[in-house]
Symmetry: C2
Subunit: 147 residues, 2 copies
DNA sequence: TTGAAAATATTGAATATTCAACAATTGAAG
DNA sequence: CTTCAATTGTTGAATATTCAATATTTTCAA
């Protein structure tokens, strides 16, 4: 059996496309769930990262939540207005700003977590536990290798 | 061995996050390659879908290239200016517009395909053929099941 | 056949993101 | 010490995306 050269692959055979498509669908599903709390997916990520209680600099946070710096700055501005998070200057390095969750933010984060977990459980139901775990494993190692 | 409840999962354990992260990285890599031709990833997708030579309506195309309608309309406007694609009214249903690639678009598409293929080959090199194929398979079936 | 509802694509205003320039602070070489 | 380069975060302008409203054509029921 001879495969066609990759140049003629339909776009749906490309890894980059499959990733984009899967990401789009899963993200849409989650977005729909989180809309119950009126919060975009990125804010859930931010709250979740900050929930370890340690202060995180804007740079760290931007990397962790997959946003670039200016976008993060503006989203944080909104979240500060909503009293979900607050800024403190880092005493060790006064260029940095450390971000923290407020109590209100923590409470919201708990509600968002449970919505997100319920989504993931729903996926596991229709897609299977084994496939889900295998997919997670492969994605994790792809990310590691793609540096 | 007892697992922690999913509510306390770090965000990096969530399927939605792993997908977003992997998609971001792979997409960035591809974007970098395609920048040699000064073209965004979405335009490669559009050209590739239209390369079957059949006319595709805006609706079909939007679904296929993972863009929503107004965004696609505006991107197509640019591509028409660049003489990469052209519009024809569908004679069977005059609500529809059928999109076609120009010769110039076809030539560009060939160059873009080879850049994209070389990226994918690079991934296969560091990540392995087996993992790549298994990941593709799992993504494909996730998309199927996630309807 | 007519008229209302659905489907398709585009537009413009509102919103969000990105790019490049900036300000503030730190680090480090001379 | 002093100065210059690097790091960090924010801002404003330019760009892109989205939402809601529109125009056009088709479908279908009465």
């Amino acid at each position: 059996m001879v495969k066609p050269p990759k140049e003629n692959f339909p776009i749906t055979e490309h890894l980059t496309y499959l990733l984009a498509q899967a990401n789009r669908e899963i993200n849409r599903q989650l977005e729909t769930r989180l809309s119950k709390e009126g919060v975009p997916v990125e804010q859930w990520r931010i709250l979740k990262v900050l929930s370890d209680g340690n202060g995180h600099s804007m740079g760290e946070l931007a990397d962790a939540v997959l946003l670039n710096h200016p976008t993060l700055t503006k989203m944080i501005d909104r979240m500060v207005s909503d009293a979900l998070v607050y800024r403190l200057q880092d005493p060790k390095d006064r260029r940095k700003v450390l971000m923290f969750v407020s109590d209100r933010g923590k409470a919201l984060c708990r509600r968002l977590n449970s919505l997100a977990v319920s989504q993931e459980e729903h996926i596991v139901e229709s897609y299977g536990d084994k496939s889900t775990n295998e997919l997670k494993r492969l994605l994790g190692s792809l990310i590691g290798s793609a540096t």
